[in-house]
């Protein structure tokens, strides 16, 4: 079994080295997306346009041998556009309704600019995320497993958008932040994409079965009681630090943080969780779960600054 952990580490190193052939930088983003998949959860991705969000997810889907689909959020996007709908078909002179599955019937769904979609569409995708099923008419359809939604949000151009409520945002395990590449990385991007005509093709490194197995292993990674206490204290502190935080994180954050720390340990080839795993995962876990108060905003503190303060 010890060899399994070493193999897992090597597999993920292999995955990251393959993604680096397509995507320059963004290592943390890719790692956090992988951790979300291993935790059988979903993630929010906040970043400016043109930061290879779609390319990252599509590449990971190829490497994990998963079906990938993309939904573009618009104000007129209807739930049936993503879940699918019944269409009238004629066979041998007989007309009948047949269910036409929507883009949500995939393993990895990239929901671009989720905050541009209407609240009705939000509730449809949230049902899919939470229940791993969709209801069309009076019929419920189970989604394929594994199922992972990566919803992106653009931090600019907020006019005409429907922000996710706190309760809706809480259902995403991570809020991953993407930033602009460094000048060196950008130079590499320019060199690579002005010379190549198309992206290099990727051969799968993991299968769906491997992903199921890894999701099972993640939940079995043992955690010390001190780590659990540390996590619970951190989440409680987020609720009590009224000097900076108006609303703190829910117990879902505690569960998510432990789970994410376990997955982080696994992809690092460890069969135990360390404090560093918790610290590393605390940022994407808490970022969308804390609401800063006026005093913090007046001082121009960002969520990450407050999380650093909580971790002290």
């Amino acid at each position: 079994m010890e060899k399994v952990f070493t193999d897992v580490k090597e597999k993920f190193l292999d995955i990251f080295s393959h993604t680096s052939k397509v995507i320059v930088g963004q290592t943390d983003v890719l790692k956090q997306i992988v951790i979300s998949i291993l935790c059988d959860s979903n993630a929010l991705l906040e970043g400016y346009p043109g930061l290879a969000k779609t390319l990252s997810v599509r590449t990971l889907a190829q490497l994990m041998d998963m079906k990938f689909s993309r939904i573009q959020g618009t104000p007129d996007l209807m739930p049936s556009d993503i879940t699918g709908t019944y269409v009238l078909e004629e066979h041998d002179g007989k007309r009948e309704f047949k269910f036409q599955p929507g883009p949500v019937f995939a393993n990895i769904v990239l929901f671009d600019e989720v905050n541009r979609a209407s609240p009705r569409t939000h509730s449809a995708i949230l049902e899919a995320m939470q229940e791993k099923q969709v209801t069309v008419g009076n019929k419920t359809f189970k989604l394929d497993k594994p199922f992972f939604v990566l919803a992106t949000m653009n931090p600019i151009e907020m006019e005409g958008t429907f922000s996710l409520s706190e309760a809706q945002a809480d259902r995403f395990l991570f809020k991953i932040k993407t930033d602009y590449p460094s000048p060196e990385e950008e130079l590499e991007i320019v060199n690579r994409y002005t010379e190549l005509l198309k992206d290099p093709s990727m051969k799968p490194i993991l299968t769906k079965e491997n992903v199921f197995k890894l999701q099972d292993i993640v939940r079995k990674v043992p955690v010390a009681n001190d780590i659990k206490k540390m996590v619970v204290e951190l989440i409680n502190k987020s609720r009590k630090s009224k000097e900076l935080i108006e609303y703190g994180a829910s117990p879902r954050a505690s569960i998510g943080l432990i789970l994410a720390a376990k997955a982080n340990a696994l992809i690092n080839g460890r069969n135990y969780v360390t404090k560093e795993d918790v610290i590393e995962m605390a940022f994407p876990i808490l970022r969308h779960r804390i609401i800063l108060n006026f005093e913090a905003e007046r001082n121009n503190f960002k969520e990450d600054d407050v999380i650093k303060y909580l971790l002290k």
């Binding site: 079995k220 990674v221 043992p222 069969n271 404090k275």
Partner: protein, 268 residues
């Protein structure tokens, strides 16, 4: 489960014993420092027992109660979080926990007792203990002091303070370096300095109770008049009274009296 539990207990026990040893070493050191100070100021060394006891008791409590696997992990960073995780999940039997237990058992085997000792500090402490002991012995033997501080304490307290003053080793080792006692072995120091020179000694008659020059007719000298032997007397032996019956005692007395009378008559 038993293997890992035993291994974890063993590691913890090693650390507890090391901590106790360190604490005892420090305690001895503190005791000696205070004993030295008290000896110098001519106060009882027994009071030097108080600070080390105050220092030792929390140390024993901490060593036994508060020593945790985290303390072992702090000393052996390679085991960080492994011991605690294995200990907290000791009852679980799935493959992943088993793999962790195997890893911990493998790593625990590499732990040596020397990991827990700071050899340099231990050597310093032992040297300090040796030096302090020697200094205290010397000070006790030579009765070195910087003044009698018993006066600053209440009178009732003084007896206790003063009792045993002179150092913890002072009483037992006083003879080792005490030059006054050297006279028993080497004689008077001033005489030793004379070397082989001949000395004429004269006993002055004024200091004696009787004049030796008047001892010509010693048989007639009445010692009872000198006053020297007034306290010397005879009393019947207890065994004489105990063993001989009363009537027989009378008979023996009569016999002896008559024998004396006969002897006197014969002299006359």
């Amino acid at each position: 489960m038993d293997n890992i539990t035993d291994a974890l207990k063993e590691v913890r026990r090693s650390l507890v014993l090391t901590r106790l040893f360190n604490r005892f070493t420090n305690t001895v050191l503190i005791f000696l420092v205070f004993a030295l100070i008290l000896t110098i100021f001519k106060l009882s060394w027994k009071f030097a027992l108080i600070p080390p006891i105050i220092y030792l008791l929390p140390g024993i409590y901490n060593a036994f109660i508060k020593t945790s696997y985290k303390d072992v992990e702090d000393i052996v960073p390679d085991l960080e979080w492994q011991l605690r995780t294995a200990a907290d999940n000791a009852e679980k039997q799935d493959e992943i926990v088993k793999s962790l237990k195997n890893l911990v058992l493998k790593n625990v085997k590499n732990i040596r007792s020397s990991f827990f000792f700071d050899e340099k500090s231990l050597v310093y402490k032992l040297v300090a203990i040796g030096c302090l002991s020697f200094i205290i012995v010397l000070i006790g033997s030579f009765h070195v002091n910087f003044g009698d501080f018993k006066g600053i304490f209440p009178t009732g307290f003084v007896n206790k303070l003063g009792k045993g003053a002179g150092g913890i080793f002072g009483e037992n080792f006083a003879g080792v370096f005490d030059r006054k006692n050297d006279r028993d072995i080497y004689g008077e120091e001033s005489v030793v300095e004379l070397g082989n020179e001949e000395i004429n000694l004269q006993i002055t008659p004024e200091n004696s109770l009787f004049d030796p020059s008047n001892l010509n007719n010693i048989e007639n000298y009445d010692f009872t008049q000198s006053g020297v032997l007034n306290d010397i007397g005879a009393s019947p032996d207890q065994s004489y009274e105990d063993r001989i019956k009363k009537e027989e005692q009378e008979l023996i007395k009569t016999y002896l009296n008559k024998l004396a009378e006969y002897s006197n008559k014969k002299k006359q």
